[in-house]
Amino acid sequence: MLAAKDFKTDNEVRWCPGCGDYAILATVQSFMPALGIPRERIVFISGIGCSSRFPYYMNTYGVHSIHGRAPTLATGLSITRPDLSIWVVTGDGDGLSIGGNHLIHALRRNLNITILLFNNRIYGLTKGQYSPTSELGKVTKSTPLGTLDRPLDPIALALGANATFVARALDSDRAGLTEVLQAAAQHSGAALVEIYQNCNIFNDGAFDTLKDSTTAGESIIPLRQGEPIVFGPQGSQAVVRAADGGLRVAETAAVDPAEIVVHDAHRSDPTQAFALAHLADPHTLQHTPIGVFRSISAPCYDDLARRQVNDAVAQAGFPETGAGDDAFAALLAGRDTWVVD
């Protein structure tokens, strides 16, 4: 049995002291042995950004690729190598800005990959510009008068792309993150895990509301499969269906318990998960659901792609390479040939 230390590399970890990435790395390394997969069959692929240094610190196979494109490499690898456990590590800039297109397509195709999106709501590696998840009006180096664009919610985006597994976790919540990683790893198909990650240099305290014990209870909506969605001190708050069909937060005492929404990540209809994602206030992070939003089973692109090839090979009757010489000769000859003596 492997241990967390077996997943550490000799590379000196180069994140800023105090960065949330350390906590995520430690959690992933200690979770990995439970996967029960030999190190050589695990591949971490990343793009560019602070988070994308992750593969260098994992004693597995790894590729630190180019900005936003990690899902594309993972796509080719997952189609051709079903024996591997493939993890993509990206960030809010890498995965949602420059690489947004690849992320949505990897999700909608439902490839057998697990995507960890470290969301620190800022550009760290390029030293402090705003990111697609930064709150509206945020003052940064590139937006001295405040940002003008509304932030993107990765969970809502993933659900919009019809992702089959969508979850959110917090860097500092080791138990919660481990639980989500476990579920994501077991999921067949594309899994998106958004991890709120503190950048203590350029966006320190961005998630304090969710971490401070005095505010966390009222801010976090924990999602537990099959349980009524209640939160706050002694479950004083609840998520109920609003008159217009959406969701709203209400005082638990003031509503009929039957009205409280029971969390079901396995619903094939994504609208409830989508409504949950929108409960969060992007500015204050009040009512931020944490946990698994959606987990449904659907065919995976890579399985289907391999099946098409395997079926064609089987039908042609030459499964072994080299066994199809006659068929290949026939292919090269085509329909119309002539002979020169």
């Binding site: 080719g76 189609i79 397509h105 792609a305 098409q308 199809g324 010489d325």
Partner: protein, 633 residues
């Protein structure tokens, strides 16, 4: 203009006495019509029949970028030129001997290419005042002197076709659409081509539409019979089978098809699955379509969300041990640049096929050009050397594809294969290789056993090729991390050390340069010690060789050298170039290889350029060569 006999019942009149047959050594026919008239199919069928008959053939399709430009307009004209001969020919021909014009637009668009004395067969039914006006004819060209230099055969092709297909039960529209088959039948008669391969083709194509099949067959047969009986044609022609072909079984093949076959052959050659990641783009899309139909040979095709994802997926597959390939054209190449740079840094095998077209930007999607050479050689940030090779003819795309894969896998380096629109869609006869004769090789993956006594160093190198180990995920004991950041020599750890960067930049260059040692010696075609050398690369092969033959036929000497390897250049090129007083270099760009040759070898080549979206004609090159030869005498 002669009277035309129309037989309204469509039945064939009793056979007239056989007409005299004249021999021709070669003929160039251009079929031209609306893009909806089926000219590409007509040309393709005529070519097939000629090839099977045993002629040498070369073709040049020329079609609009729009799928269906407005009918009857100049932009909507689609043409297909075929050159067939009783000897080895190298180009689709400079100027057509015969133009089949299905409407006034086709006549107007192509007339400028016709030499005096050429024959024009046109559909008289289409020469209505309205149609003439639409293409800017203020007067009917048949009525004034504008066609005086040509032999014009005015035939009511639409009427004849309608009459011929009357019994097949198709509607008026489908009946008229069969007129390309009528024209094909007529031209087949005129040049003594058998109809059976086209009949077989139609039977397969329209197996599920018996009425349309009947209409097409009726039109084809009627066209043939019409030639036999009409007084319009007093003689027919014959082009004997070509005798100067090496023995073997042949087929006709386009560059894109040959390329697809070559990639499959390469995967079989090194026993690895082929993975194509691609995004549709003219004129490369056919390679994606074709390979998508070859799954039974273990080929996986992935239509990506964009050009970048296409190459990214190919690189990911290559990392996993597949033959990673991406296909594109100029604008797509631009998008792939960064990923090619990553492949250079990762030192993984990857094949990038650029079927070049007219640029810049969207440019001329359906026209040919050789203007991506500099982009292939240098179009990336940093010192980013890749291997660049170019195919010289449609069938050569097969061998070039195999070589690209072999070079990529052996050196663990991206290889750019340059084709172009002319090669992609043009066709020529191809001697079908025996499968047993195709090359095989071992991709040579790193193994646990090789490294069991020492720590795996992903950036250690083979002493000769300088290639690094290709260690596939899944191999125990070889876990390692690679990336786009500069790596320390040998260990591959991230390194920002100045001296190390200098070492690594030079190593990557040296690795690509080392390929030159594996390039066979140049074969200069110089039978009699010429003083002028004509140098070429890519698809100018045919026109240059034809021009060289014409010059020699005129009693003058000229040497010829065609390059397949553009990076690295062959080592002996440095010895060959100074042997000549003048080096002429024709390119379909503004002198890109000429710039390289001048810079590398300090040889002041005479750069001959044109960017009209069409290949050089051998005639213009013959003129250029004669002028240069005269200047050194």
């Amino acid at each position: 203009m002669s009277e035309v006999m129309v037989n309204p019942s469509g039945s064939v009149p009793p056979p007239a006495p056989a007409k005299p047959v004249e021999r021709r050594d070669r003929v160039i026919i251009r079929f031209a019509g609306d893009s909806g008239d089926g000219m590409q199919l007509t040309g393709d069928r005529f070519t097939s029949a000629s090839a099977i008959f045993g002629n040498d053939v070369a073709t040049l399709p020329d079609f609009p970028a729009e799928i269906r430009a407005p009918a009857g307009t100049l932009p909507g004209v689609s043409a297909f030129q075929v050159h067939f001969a009783d000897h080895d020919i190298l180009t689709p021909g400079d100027a057509p001997d015969v133009l089949i014009a299905m409407n006034p637009a086709a006549l107007r668009a192509n007339l400028k290419d016709l030499p005096r004395g050429a024959e024009i067969i046109l559909d008289a039914d289409e020469f209505t005042p309205r149609n003439l006006q639409r293409v800017g004819y203020s007067a009917d060209p048949r009525a004034d002197e504008s066609l005086a230099a040509y032999t014009v055969r005015e035939l009511p092709l639409t009427t004849l076709t309608r009459a011929a297909v009357a019994d097949s039960g198709v509607g008026k529209k489908d009946a008229a659409r069969a007129k390309n088959m009528f024209a094909l039948g007529l031209v087949s008669w005129l040049y003594s081509r058998p109809l059976d391969t086209t009949r077989g083709y139609l039977e397969k194509k329209f197996a599920r539409a018996p009425q349309i099949l009947a209409a097409n067959l009726a039109a084809l047969n009627a066209g043939y019979a019409f030639g036999e009986t009409t007084e319009d044609f007093s003689v027919r022609y014959e082009v004997a089978p070509a005798a100067d072909f090496p023995a073997g079984r042949y087929r006709n093949i386009s560059g894109n098809l040959a390329l697809a076959y070559g990639l499959v052959a390469a995967g079989r050659g090194c026993h690895r699955p082929v993975f194509l990641g691609s995004y549709p783009i003219t004129p490369a899309s056919d390679v994606l379509h074709l390979l998508a139909g070859m799954k039974q040979f273990g080929v996986t095709t992935f239509q990506a969300e964009d050009e970048i994802a296409g190459i990214g997926a190919a690189l990911g597959a290559a990392y996993g041990g597949a033959i990673g390939v991406t296909t594109t054209s100029g604008p797509g190449m631009a998008l792939k640049s960064e990923m090619i740079g990553l492949a250079v840094a990762l030192e993984l095998p990857l094949v990038i096929v650029d079927v070049q077209r007219g640029g810049p930007s969207t440019g001329l999607p359906t026209k040919t050009e050789q203007s991506d050479l500099m982009q292939a050689l240098f179009g990336r940030n940093g010192e980013s050397p890749v291997i660049v090779i170019a195919a010289q003819s449609p069938s050569d795309c097969f061998d070039t594809a195999i070589e690209a894969v072999a070079l990529a896998t052996r050196t663990r380096t991206p290889v750019i294969l340059l084709s172009d629109g002319y090669l992609a869609n043009g066709t020529e006869p191809w001697r079908i290789p025996a499968v047993a004769d195709l090359p095989t090789w071992d991709p040579g993956f790193a193994t646990t056993e090789q490294w069991q006594d020492r720590e795996f160093t992903p950036y250690s190198r083979d002493p000769v090729s300088l290639a690094r180990p290709w260690a596939l995920p899944g191999t125990p004991g070889l876990t390692h991390r690679i990336g786009g950041l500069e790596k320390a020599d040998v260990t591959g750890a991230i390194s920002y050390d100045p001296a190390n960067h200098d070492t690594m930049v030079r190593l990557r260059q040296a690795k690509v340069d080392a390929v030159a040692a594996t390039i066979p010696p140049l074969a200069v075609d110089d039978p009699d010690g010429a003083r002028v050398l004509v140098l070429g690369w890519g698809s100018t092969y045919g026109p240059i060789k034809a021009a060289v033959q014409a010059v020699r036929a005129g009693g003058q000497s000229v040497a010829r050298l065609h390059l397949r390897h553009l990076n690295p250049l062959p080592r002996d090129l440095a010895d060959v170039l100074p042997r000549y007083d003048r080096v002429v270099l024709p390119e379909m760009n503004l002198g890109q290889l000429a710039t390289i040759i001048r810079a590398r070898y300090l040889v002041d080549v005479i750069s001959v350029t044109q960017v009209r979206g069409l290949p050089f004609t051998s005639g213009e090159l013959t003129g250029v060569l004669k002028d240069v030869i005269a200047s050194v005498d």
